[in-house]
């Protein structure tokens, strides 16, 4: 790997190597820029380091304590936040549906939420490119959304127990389903400058890290590509501060390595630390916040899960967890809410399932032991639905320090009326599907999934933190690209869209530079 000196002025520093940071890093390196990535976590070797054990794999999560406030406090850590080269893609489930064009103009359509300053069609070429590069397995043609210019490069992965059950239940009540698009390989796949990646072996362990390299987390895709083209990855380097000159531009990023402070000189900074760490870093340094929008409008998808026990053996730990999808509820006809949601089948691991029974079901003692005896017969489905931005949901700095010595972020979240209605709708639909599929002892687990918003993009510097190219309205050489820039959540799992934005942000930067 190429390396740079701290006192050499590199073209770009990328802070964070997850879904937002890794793709643009590879793009910059390919264009010949001197690019350095600072990553707070370790650079793992999945084969040697990833155990098939949920508890051990907690090492993939951002476990520095955050304070969860509001009426629906959000659990962080294993529920949504990763650390390490690869960021949260190390433990994403690999669902990669595309958003729909109408997701980008919610305000125009419903008079609530926000319109994006870009459209689906600005991102479309990047979706095409990403699906080919990552080796997404999925059905072609895809049954929902606008016609596509490209087919998925690999056929869908085999359906596991929960996916077959969802198919059965949906069929009985006339809901359309399809094998889902997943960023895991249904056959061995060759990626230029990365090499061969092997097919998924149905371990079902995606949320605790893929040890086979079948899952397209960015540590096995964009990161090796970036390194091939000359980027330097600096793991265990925690960015804490920016040095700025008279014009307000950033001249260096200060970071902590082995407990010592170092500073890397640079021409540009791409902040890709995720929805919580990006605004925390900006608020700590009072940077890029003339709009007052940094930390505002924290959002999380309506993510209700429904579990049931079946007569058949389901063994929900095997196979790609999210095998089947229905997008019929994107704009339900009988909706009393704006926007809509997806329904996806879900596999699960025993510790995650048991913890849900405990935390959200309040089940313990003999009741819990008995319920867990049915683990091999459990199957789940869940929804991912739009969450509207709300000024009362925000992030602030507390006066308690975390393990890194920085103030802990405090995040307020209360689900709004629109989300409550959508959740009720989704729960009724999913309970019907599960009943028709033959489920007994159905349980719902209320949940708000993914961390979105806090540094929104927009057209004006008094209402947004960055413009449509991801550039700060205030600091001329600061760009943000991660889940924080989403003005609205989109009714879809976010990773593919973040990666598409990342490539677009890189291309716009490069075209302006030339």
């Amino acid at each position: 790997m190429r390396s740079y000196q701290n006192n050499e002025i590199v073209d770009v520093i990328v802070i964070g190597t997850g879904a937002g940071g890794a793709p643009l890093l590879a793009r910059f390196a390919k264009a010949g820029l001197k690019a350095v990535a600072l990553e707070a976590g370790k650079h793992w070797d999945p084969k040697a380091d990833f155990a098939t054990d949920e508890k051990e794999q907690n090492k993939l999560f951002w476990n520095f304590e955050r304070l969860s406030a509001g009426k629906d406090p959000i659990p962080f850590g294993k529920n949504n936040s990763g650390i390490g080269v690869g960021g949260s893609t190390l433990h994403y489930t690999a669902y990669t549906p595309r958003p729909h064009p109408e997701d980008f103009h919610l305000y125009s359509d419903f008079g609530v939420g926000e319109d994006w300053p870009i459209t689906y069609f600005d991102l479309e070429p990047y979706f095409d490119e990403l699906e080919q590069f990552l080796g997404i397995s999925g059905p072609s043609p895809y049954p929902w959304g606008p016609p596509r210019k490209t087919s998925y490069p690999l056929p869908p992965l085999a359906l596991n127990g929960p996916a077959q059950l969802m198919q059965r239940g949906c069929k009985k009540i006339g809901i359309n389903t399809s094998p889902a698009a997943n960023a895991a390989l249904s056959a061995a796949y060759y990626q230029e400058h990365v090499g061969w990646r092997q097919a998924c072996t149905n371990r079902g362990f995606c949320q605790a890290g893929c040890s086979t390299g079948a899952k397209a987390s960015v540590d096995v895709t964009f990161i090796p590509l970036a390194v091939h083209y000359g980027a330097e990855i600096r793991p265990e380097c925690f960015a804490i501060n920016f040095e700025r000159n008279g014009t307000g531009s950033i001249t260096a990023v200060v970071y902590k390595k082995n407990g010592k402070e170092e500073r890397q000189l640079c021409h540009n900074v791409f902040l890709c630390a995720g929805t919580v760490e990006t605004p925390r870093l900006l608020l700590l340094n009072n940077t890029a916040n003339s709009s007052g929008q940094v930390g505002k409008n924290f959002m999380a998808h309506v993510g209700l899960q429904v579990w049931g026990e079946f007569e058949e053996e389901v063994r929900p730990n095997k196979g790609i967890p999210g095998g089947l999808i229905s997008e019929d509820m994107r704009r339900p006809k009988d909706a009393d809410f704006a926007s809509g949601y997806l329904i996806q089948s879900i596999g699960v691991m025993p510790v995650t399932y048991a913890a849900q029974l405990a935390r959200s079901g309040g089940i313990w003692g003999e009741a819990l032991r008995t319920k867990m005896q049915a683990f091999n017969q459990v199957g789940g489905i869940n929804m991912h639905g739009e969450c509207l931005p709300d000024v009362n949901n925000y992030l602030e700095l507390s006066d308690e320090l975390d393990e890194t010595g920085l103030p802990k972020p405090r995040i307020y979240f209360t689900a709004g009326e629109n989300q409550k209605r959508m959740s009720i709708h989704g729960e009724a639909v999913m309970r019907r599907i599960w009943t028709e599929a033959g489920a007994k002892n159905i349980l719902s687990h209320h949940r708000n999934a993914h961390t979105i918003g806090t540094c929104r993009m927009g057209n004006s510097g008094d209402k947004a933190v960055v413009n449509a190219a991801g550039r700060s309205f205030e600091v001329p050489n600061l760009y943000i690209c991660d889940n924080s820039v989403f003005p609205s959540t989109l009714a879809v799992n976010p990773a593919l869209t973040i990666m598409a934005l990342s490539l677009r942000t890189a291309d716009l930067f490069l075209s302006q530079k030339n």
């Binding site: 596991n160 048991a354 309040g362 091999n376 405090r410």
Partner: protein, 202 residues
């Protein structure tokens, strides 16, 4: 409790090539950990927490599969977090110490005896009251008892069901996936996965 799966499945697999080296190491270290000595809690607090964990996981204190309290002790000693806490709750160390005192206080107020000397059904009753928020005692006026119970129960559950011998009890051998899985559809069982020996449909 009725046993649905045969014993010994995890033990029979752990040293085979079905388990990756790193997975084997982690599981063996965990089983060895179960013999450790506590160091965060003093001994009365540790003993009380051990009994509370037993009630929560319906374990016989004389014949435990694993003492969950040891793993809580280890985490608090190492000062590791799970990444978040309720804004209204004190930090974990404080929450645990306060919660243990709260349980003892409620036991004394309700039955005029220390928690450890109560019958199992009295202990269960007290924990139920703490879960519901109806437990007596000054400590629960300072710290919301249902949130304490939720945090405690979730941690105990995660530790308990991470223990290989407990996973065996639910017919789970997911750790033995070095070669992956083939029969992943409904009623699909791979050769090394245990079959139900006593069947009762849900």
């Amino acid at each position: 409790m009725q046993q649905r799966y045969a014993s010994g499945t995890v033990g029979a697999l752990i040293d085979t090539n079905f388990v990756t080296p790193v997975t084997r190491q982690v599981l063996k270290e965990r089983m060895a950990m179960a013999e450790a000595k506590p160091c965060f809690f003093d001994s009365p607090a540790f003993d009380l927490l051990s009994i509370v964990c037993d009630r929560l996981m319906a374990q016989d204190s004389e014949n435990r599969i694993v003492n969950v309290a040891l793993f809580i002790d280890e985490r608090l000693k190492n000062k590791t977090s799970d990444g978040w806490r309720y804004n209204t709750m004190p930090p974990d160390e404080k929450m645990y110490l306060k919660g243990i005192n709260g349980i003892e206080e409620t036991a004394n107020l309700s039955f005029k005896k220390p928690f450890s000397q109560l019958t199992i059904s009295q202990q269960t009753e007290i924990l139920g009251a703490i879960q519901k928020g109806t437990a007596e005692g000054a400590i629960w006026k300072e710290m919301e008892s249902p949130l304490f119970f939720e945090e405690l129960l979730t941690e105990v559950t995660e530790i308990f069901f991470s223990y290989p011998l407990v996973q065996e009890e639910i017919g789970f051998v997911g750790m033995a996936d070095a070669n992956g899985w083939v029969n992943i559809g409904l009623n699909g069982r791979d050769g090394i996965e245990p079959e139900v020996i006593i069947s009762n449909t849900p």
